[in-house]
Subunit: 231 residues, 2 copies
DNA sequence: CCCGTAATTAACCCATTGGATAATTACAGC
DNA sequence: GCTGTAATTATCCAATGGGTTAATTACGGG
């Protein structure tokens, strides 16, 4: 006895269903949502727009992800997951201390430059006080192994006397991320204030060198070590 | 002959008007709007809420500032203006190079820590790709004299041989701001990822020292200069 | 071939919210 | 005191946009 009144869709077009693949559909929604959230923020992103760009119905978004916020969390999880994957390709163990530190700096810088949407997403999540990242079990449990890599580099460098013993892996990681993320995240207000280009290839290259330099000079031990040739 | 129909407000309460001070009212709106925008972003901030908190009618907001976006621009102008004022209190000229650099670092750090709403506002404006700061004549013309101060410190330091000649004032400023802003702006995602406190007085004090250290080691000349006593 | 279930669609709902219209009130200058 | 004007209020409007209801369609297993 559910009965009767049920709304009838228009009866002319049978509306062919495009495909029938749960995982693929979810992945597509996630990708488009990632772009939308990174572009417009949590509030600015529009479910209708996401649906349109993904070529599906809005209802489908809520079918797979129950709400906008849960979709946002899923997007965060995906984005952070990708970063972690990238970090695994960093093999710092084999390098000498200075080379390892510079490589770490350049890798981080390159990653942020190549993934400005990711940086934007992180900024947006911070505007929301990290409320979603906290709610995500995946993300709170996903301890980032990058710290382990840094610790190993530091340990080696310290034992060789090339790196100051008081350097802390966490502090180093914060320092590097601050320098690297800033070039992407605060580009616009900085460029507006100083009419100073941060986006051209030359400016980026210079900044890249500068960050590696800052980092190395920060960690190296005081005994006037090799400044290496930075052409 | 506009005539007749005009909507009549309810006729029981004469609705006493609170005050009649253009500048004061505008200033109050600006202050509340600053808080709201910093808290909730451009889209999240609510005109009704601003009006309620300011104890006025929403219409008044649009009377003084024509639209939400213009209000946001006015808020940005005010916020940046305050920062510039604060920067003027920095007297670096009298200090020796190392002291000047450390003082600059600590001042910047303290300012951002003391004004997280400002940092949030800047982050929000960057999410909007600096579109408002660009539109504001006040802000695009407001060249920040802080660069001048930094240049003078560097010049003095270079002539004394204490600071490397290749250090650039702009790059230094970017570096310092990156380090300083990050501690406020990206606090939440970082804390969530590493379960690592960045908010306690101890953590802040440590970070403050660290940043000064990074900056000084970055600019000082290579001849193993005094590491000074950082107790 | 049939049928249950899961994927997908169409259409609707309604709270929120920038912004607008127009009345009202205070206040300064004559 | 009168009056023009600026400050302020009450009320309304239309669009936007999350989220929902229910119909429809594909598809795999018996």
């Amino acid at each position: 006895m559910k009965t009767v009144s049920a709304r009838r869709p228009v009866e002319n077009k049978p509306a062919k269903v495009r495909r029938r693949d749960r995982e693929k559909t979810k992945a597509e929604i996630l990708q488009i949502a990632f772009e939308e959230f990174a572009e417009s923020g949590l509030l600015g992103a529009n479910a209708d727009a996401i649906a349109a760009k993904a070529g599906i119905t809005k209802r489908l978004i809520f079918y797979y992800f129950n709400s906008k916020e849960e979709l946002f969390i899923a997007v965060l999880e995906m984005a952070y997951g990708k970063m972690r994957l990238a970090e695994e390709d960093l093999h710092l163990a084999t390098l000498e201390p200075e080379a390892a530190i510079r490589r770490l700096a350049e890798f981080t810088f390159d990653f942020h430059q190549a993934n400005p949407e990711f940086v934007r997403l992180v900024a947006i999540e911070n505007i929301h006080r990290g409320r979603h990242i906290q709610r995500s079990e995946k993300l709170t449990q996903m301890t980032r192994p990058i710290i382990g890599q840094i610790e190993r580099v530091l340990a080696k460098g310290k034992s060789l006397g090339a790196i100051r013993p008081e350097i802390d892996a966490h502090e180093l990681h914060v320092t590097l991320n601050a320098l690297s993320i800033f070039s992407v995240a605060n580009r616009h207000t900085f460029e507006a204030q100083f009419r100073w280009d941060m986006s051209s290839p030359e400016a980026k290259a210079r900044r890249r060198r500068e960050i590696a330099e800052v980092l190395w000079r920060y960690v190296r031990s005081d005994e006037c070590s090799s400044a290496a040739d930075r052409s």
